[in-house]
């Protein structure tokens, strides 16, 4: 009995913003497909092993998944060092992230196993990035934001790299949105999550928000003390139900 499906994982090179060659990790289930696609946008700690694991998790659940290295341009001996450099530079620009992610979306759509649908997901800064992407372009079919901070931004937080608060882009959100948040988080705070939800309602957007008690920022990260097992298990179930509905 074949209960667990095999998968193929490989490093690939995609075309990032401005045609820049960019490393990405791709995982697809065994078989010819067609499979729905998911682009994973890594978190502020960088293109780390956790995201590679998440990518395989999607393949295990029937998705053709790809995670690209948004910190490819930063000097560093490891994803960790690159993340520290990017952090010191105030992060990457939203415009560059959109260009890089568009390359990952296009790469997925061009694969012969693609079913033509692509979702985007990220956590932490990647959650914000996923939301910015889906609010800037209209080539994804579903978006999942996991505890993305700085969706609501003060005027002082705006700069050349992040010129528009994502909440102000709500009218342009081009696909259904899933939001997963910990009520003990301070960025995004429960108040900011509520404000975002009000904006989604005002613009009649399709969304699902799930708020978890007893959980803070990054509660899916099994290798961190912030891990919360019950909330994480439920959160993953919500993610697969959401993508199952919108990417089939």
């Amino acid at each position: 009995m074949t209960f667990y499906r095999g998968m193929t994982c490989e490093n690939v090179t995609i075309k990032g913003d401005g045609g820049t060659p960019m490393s990405a990790y791709a995982a697809r289930p065994e078989g010819r497909g067609p499979f729905p696609g998911v682009v994973l946008i890594h978190h502020a700690p960088g293109w780390d092993e956790l995201y590679i694991e998440f990518t395989r998790r999607f393949a295990h659940n029937g998705y053709f998944a790809v995670s690209h290295n948004l910190y490819e341009r930063a000097p560093g001996n490891s994803p960790d060092d690159a993340a520290a450099r990017v952090r010191a530079e105030g992060g990457i620009s939203d415009a560059q992230m959109v260009g890089d992610t568009a390359g990952a979306v296009a790469w997925l759509r061009a694969q012969p196993q693609s079913n033509g649908k692509v979702g985007v997901i990220g956590s932490c800064s990647g959650g914000r990035h996923a939301l910015v992407y889906a609010s800037t372009r209209s080539d994804v079919d579903a978006c999942a934001d996991l505890w993305g901070g700085r969706v609501v931004m003060t005027r002082e937080e705006l700069n050349a790299k992040t010129p528009i608060p994502p909440i102000d882009m709500t009218n342009n959100l081009s696909c259904p949105l899933l939001g997963i948040f910990g009520n003990d988080d301070r960025a995004p705070s429960p108040e900011q999550v509520n404000a975002h939800e009000v904006a989604l309602q005002q613009h009649s957007k399709v969304y699902e928000f799930y708020r978890y008690d007893g959980a803070g920022h990054g509660f899916f990260y099994w290798n961190r003390p912030i891990y919360r097992v019950e909330q994480t298990n439920d959160g993953w179930a919500k993610i697969f139900a959401f993508f199952g509905k919108h990417l089939a």
């Binding site: 502020a44 700690p45 000097p75 560093g76 001996n77 960790d80 060092d81 993340a83 520290a84 450099r85 952090r87 010191a88 105030g90 992060g91 932490c124 800064s125 914000r128 505890w147 993305g148 901070g149 700085r150 937080e157 988080d185 301070r186 960025a187 995004p188 803070g216 920022h217 990054g218 961190r224 003390p225 912030i226």
Partner: protein, 95 residues
């Protein structure tokens, strides 16, 4: 917590990573969720060169405060030495 709390200073000196020493260009101080330490939010110190070398530290807020106090004490003592007044009747001020 996803913060944008970052402080950067130009740093002169050297740092060690493994067996190699590298020349510092910057020291970066942040407050955000820990990447490695089994802690939630931490003060992070990154000492970096102009290229790709880095020595990083993650500290609890309490440890960071103690480090700041230790730096203040050591700097006060160093300034006393630098002023070349030791042994000339000068009284060292408390940090």
């Amino acid at each position: 917590m996803c913060t944008s709390i970052v402080e950067i200073i130009r740093a002169e000196g050297m740092a060690q990573r493994g067996d190699d020493w590298f020349t510092l260009a910057q020291a970066v101080v942040t407050y955000d969720h820990a990447r490695h330490a089994p802690l939630e939010d931490v003060i992070t110190l990154d000492f970096v060169d102009a290229g790709s070398a880095r020595a990083g530290v993650e500290l609890t807020l309490e440890s960071a405060r103690a480090l700041r106090a230790a730096l203040d004490r050591a700097i006060a003592a160093a300034e006393f030495e630098e002023a070349e007044v030791r042994g000339k009747g000068a009284v060292k001020k408390a940090a």
